[in-house]
């Protein structure tokens, strides 16, 4: 009944196997992570000292734009979908995803989308240069001609995400092993279920806003053109109605990962499982009613300003609950600090720091000083890099032995962690200071007053980049020559994925397992 993978390239082109597709998503995201990282290093190299050295402003703006787009849509989101593909069927005791052919399709359109997006850099007039938030009219009337390709690429990415989400929801609702009730699901499955709903709700909004742009650019409409009776602020409302849930899309699965790893290495069950589920759902709900906190300086009426301030502050409550639960899980545990645990602990600490600056940004009057400065850059990198990137890294170290059957080298893993940890803080911590001191974001040059901290940031960025090369080396050497891992891998980990052999066979749970 069970049969192995096909041979050669066709295995990957035509595969409907959730493990193959998960692997492809993960490698694709890894490649995009390096590409987005190179763009980031161009930015940091230019900002190493005042004056224009490496690139001129036109190129610099394309770098900031592409860095954001590639990291959000190319690195973080596909990585989480890849993890979902690998893990969700195994975690719920299903033989595969519910819609395997669509699974293949939702992956394989991505390389085309990103090839198109990156190719704009070589087009006449350059690539997108209006920031990853592409505010109109800079992205419409004043955009380079390549913007049309950008719009098409975003459409494809959106289609991919929606298909991925439908697949995940269908799998979770229809394919759970008998006895696996909703409140017995691992938190990673729960957080992904909620994330998938967020994606289905907001990706069409993104598609809508880029379509309105397309209309404005090519078909003479004036959705966002004040001269034609349109409204540039409307763009921001629609964009952030997508954009704010989007940032939770990039963090909720991370909550699930950390909630799996911390109990394993604290040797103690997760504290407050059900409150974790409710907190995740509350965060997801609140994410829909806070979008305009990205627009406090746009000239909203005071009632709107107050509403969005209060709603935003409220998010601190469920997020706090999560952090307190993780800390209490560690409390009176029996802790060891393997690489996945180190990344997870760093996640909790640094994500909390990002949460603090988030709370500060929520205070609308203070936001008038923070808005569009490096303080904001520091804030969202503190939630996204330790949040999304560290959790994905933790997940790779935690589940890699299950995926490939080999154990990674603990010394190399820990080296990776410390270099990345130091690099990250060197890069992003000083940004709080320059931001508060008055440096605005998205500029290629600055006054000498900000030079010291920018120099530290740039050095940190290159260190962080080097750490990721170590990561790549660790992953490859584990797959190629790592020591054989046991089936359990860790000491008494929880979850169905640990009950199958290492490496996980091509087909798992062809017969549903028993769940107590």
């Amino acid at each position: 009944m069970a049969h192995g993978p096909a041979k050669g390239l066709s295995r990957w082109l035509f595969t409907t196997n959730h493990k193959d597709i998960g692997t492809m998503y993960l490698w694709f995201s890894f490649a995009m992570f390096f590409l987005g990282g190179i763009f980031a290093l161009v930015i940091r190299a230019e900002l190493f000292e005042p004056g224009l050295q490496i690139v001129q402003p036109e190129i610099f703006n394309q770098m900031t734009t592409m860095h954001g787009l590639i990291m959000v849509f190319g690195a973080v989101m596909p990585a989480f979908v890849g993890l979902a593909n690998w893990l969700i069927p195994m975690m719920v005791g299903a033989p595969d995803m519910a819609l395997p052919r669509m699974n293949n399709w939702s992956f394989w359109i991505l390389p085309f989308a990103f090839t198109m997006l990156v190719s704009t850099l070589f087009m006449e007039g350059g690539g997108p240069n209006f920031g990853w938030t592409f505010y109109a009219p800079l992205s419409t009337t004043y955009a380079p001609p390549s913007v049309t390709f950008f719009i098409f690429a975003v459409h494809i990415m959106g289609a991919s995400s929606i298909m991925g989400s439908i697949n995940i929801i269908a799998t979770i609702f229809n394919m759970r092993a008998p006895g696996m009730t909703l409140m017995k699901m691992p938190l990673f499955v729960w957080t992904w279920l909620i994330t998938a709903y967020l994606l289905i709700a907001v990706m069409p909004v993104l598609a809508g806003v880029v379509t309105m742009m397309l209309m404005d650019i090519h078909f003479g409409t004036s959705f966002f053109d004040a001269a034609g009776g349109g409204d540039p602020v409307l763009f921001q409302h629609v964009f952030w109605f997508f954009g704010h849930p989007e940032v939770y899309i990039m963090i909720l699965p991370a909550f699930g990962i950390v909630s799996a790893i911390i109990p394993t290495f604290a040797r103690k069950p997760l504290f407050g499982y059900s409150s974790m589920v409710y907190a995740t759902a509350s965060i997801a709900f609140l994410s829909f009613i806070v979008w305009a906190h990205h627009m406090f300086t746009v000239g909203m009426p005071i009632a709107g300003e107050l509403f969005f301030m209060y709603a935003t502050m409220l998010i601190a409550v469920p997020t706090g609950v999560k952090v307190f639960n993780w800390v209490t899980t560690m409390f009176r545990g029996s802790m060891t600090f393997e690489t996945p645990m180190l990344f997870s602990i760093a996640f909790v600490i640094l994500f909390t720091i990002g949460g603090f600056s988030g709370l500060m940004l929520a205070i609308a009057p203070a936001d008038f000083q923070y808005h569009d400065t490096y303080f904001v850059v520091a804030h969202f990198h503190y939630v996204l890099v330790p949040g999304a990137i560290f959790s994905i890294t933790a997940a790779v170290y935690y589940w890699l032995p299950k995926w490939c059957g080999n154990m990674y080298s603990e010394i190399m893993g820990k080296t990776h962690f410390w270099v990345a940890f130091i690099g990250l803080n060197l890069t992003f911590f000083p940004m709080h200071f320059v931001g508060l001191a008055g440096m605005q974001r998205r500029v290629p040059d600055y006054n000498q007053f900000f030079a010291d901290f920018n120099q530290i940031s740039s050095m940190g960025a290159f260190l962080f980049g080097a750490a990721q090369l170590l990561f790549l080396y660790n992953v490859i050497s584990t797959i190629v020559k790592g020591k054989k891992a046991t089936d359990e891998v860790w000491e008494n980990p929880e979850g169905l994925e640990w009950t199958v052999p290492s490496p996980a066979p091509y087909h798992t749970f062809s017969v549903p397992p028993e769940v107590r």
Binding site: P232, T297, G320, R332, L350, F356, A366, F368, L436, I456
Partner: protein, 381 residues
């Protein structure tokens, strides 16, 4: 400084550090901290600074508790210390407590924030109104009802930006024309844009408002102390987003009134100038200056082009004068990036820069444009 950056925990110590680190300043320059928000010189900015520090200390306090428990566990409850894992995993009391306490803290913070916001939003009953218009990449200031209006451009030379000359103290934070305002008057800023979205931000005044085409946003400042306050455009607005600073010069009432009278006089003279006839050399000297502030960013120092088309050898600069006038005065119909300069430059400056473009960079149209020609063109000939 390295130490501050390496360890996030050091963040907790930074306010102490900032008191010792805050930089020395020139007499008329506002003091700046290199690691914290400026207190500023308006009642609103002081309010905001207070809120900022309050919420910061709340975060520090919560951080100490959370990270305290966490590090205690990590040190004491480790397997290598022989710690045996407990098995508790639920407590409704705890969950309720750590929902209610943060909620209470939020209410404590929301109250003063609301009060400050209401104050910040009350731009009514102003003494002076100034219309601020964002352009790619400069600011225009109009003193409402005073017949004074001018553009304010970056004055940092290209040589400094391209690292050919040492950078001055106010590198990228200096402009040719300061926005001069009186102290102890309620100044209302009416902020809008001519092209894309910009944001007018002066940290010491705690004024940051987006300049949105088609909207007029309000903000205000009541400056307590005379001084020079520097700011920047905060919203990405294209290529030279980082190169359109703001300089506000706050002076006493008498100085302000003298300045205003001088500006009015200068505006009159400029109008008179438009009726004069200039020689080719006069126009070219003036035109070169205008080119530097208005055209060079896109068309290059030698007219070689860049974001904009090349002017050297261009069919427009070497073709019929009417088309050249049309392009500069009305902008391009095909490309929004080529703005209409008819409203941005005076007739004299328009005449000068067009003459300059037609006779330099190897262009040899050879003709010369007088301000009166420009005026006639604007009036439809």
């Amino acid at each position: 400084m390295l130490n501050i950056a390496i360890r996030p925990c050091a963040w907790l110590l930074s306010p102490a550090a900032l008191m010792t680190l805050s930089s020395l300043s020139l007499a008329d320059e506002a003091e700046r901290s290199s690691i914290n928000m400026p207190k500023g010189v308006t009642p609103v900015s002081l309010d905001i600074y207070g809120l900022h520090m309050d919420i910061f200390w709340w975060c520090v306090a919560i951080g100490i508790v959370v990270f305290g428990v966490m590090f205690y566990s990590m040190i004491v409850h480790r397997k290598s210390n022989g710690a045996k894992a407990a098995n508790f995993h639920e407590s409704t009391v705890l969950e309720v407590l750590w929902t209610v306490i943060p909620f209470a803290i939020l209410i404590i913070m929301a109250w003063p924030a609301t009060k400050s916001l209401i104050k910040l939003y009350d731009a009514s009953e102003s003494d002076i109104d100034i219309v601020v218009t964002g352009y790619q990449w400069k600011w225009k200031y109009e003193y409402f009802g005073q017949e004074v209006s001018f553009f304010s451009n970056l004055s940092t030379p290209q040589d400094q930006i391209q690292n050919l000359a040492p950078k001055g103290e106010h590198y990228l934070l200096e402009v040719d024309e300061h926005l001069v305002v009186p102290i102890k008057k309620k100044i209302r800023f009416l902020i809008t844009s001519n092209d894309v979205i910009h944001a007018w931000w002066v940290p010491s005044l705690a004024v940051k408002k987006d300049a949105v085409p088609g909207y007029v946003n309000e903000s205000w400042a009541y400056i307590e102390e005379p001084g020079i306050y520097r700011g920047v455009c905060a919203e990405l607005c294209g290529k030279d987003h980082g190169f359109m600073p703001i300089v506000v010069e706050a002076v006493d009432d008498a100085t302000y009134n003298t300045w205003l009278a001088d500006r009015r006089e200068a505006a009159k003279q400029l109008k008179a100038l438009a009726k004069q006839t200039f020689t080719l050399d006069e126009l070219i000297v003036r035109g070169e200056k205008v080119y530097g502030t208005a055209c060079m960013a896109c068309h290059g120092a030698n007219g070689e082009g860049g974001v904009g088309k090349a002017i050297a050898g261009s069919p427009i600069a070497n073709g019929p004068l009417a088309e050249h006038l049309d392009m500069v005065v009305n902008g391009s119909q095909q490309n929004a990036l080529m703005a209409a300069f008819g409203g941005q430059l005076s007739e004299v400056d328009l005449a000068a820069v067009i003459t300059f473009q037609r006779n330099r960079f190897g262009n040899s149209a050879g003709d010369l444009v007088q301000p009166v020609d420009v005026l006639k063109f604007k009036q439809g000939k």
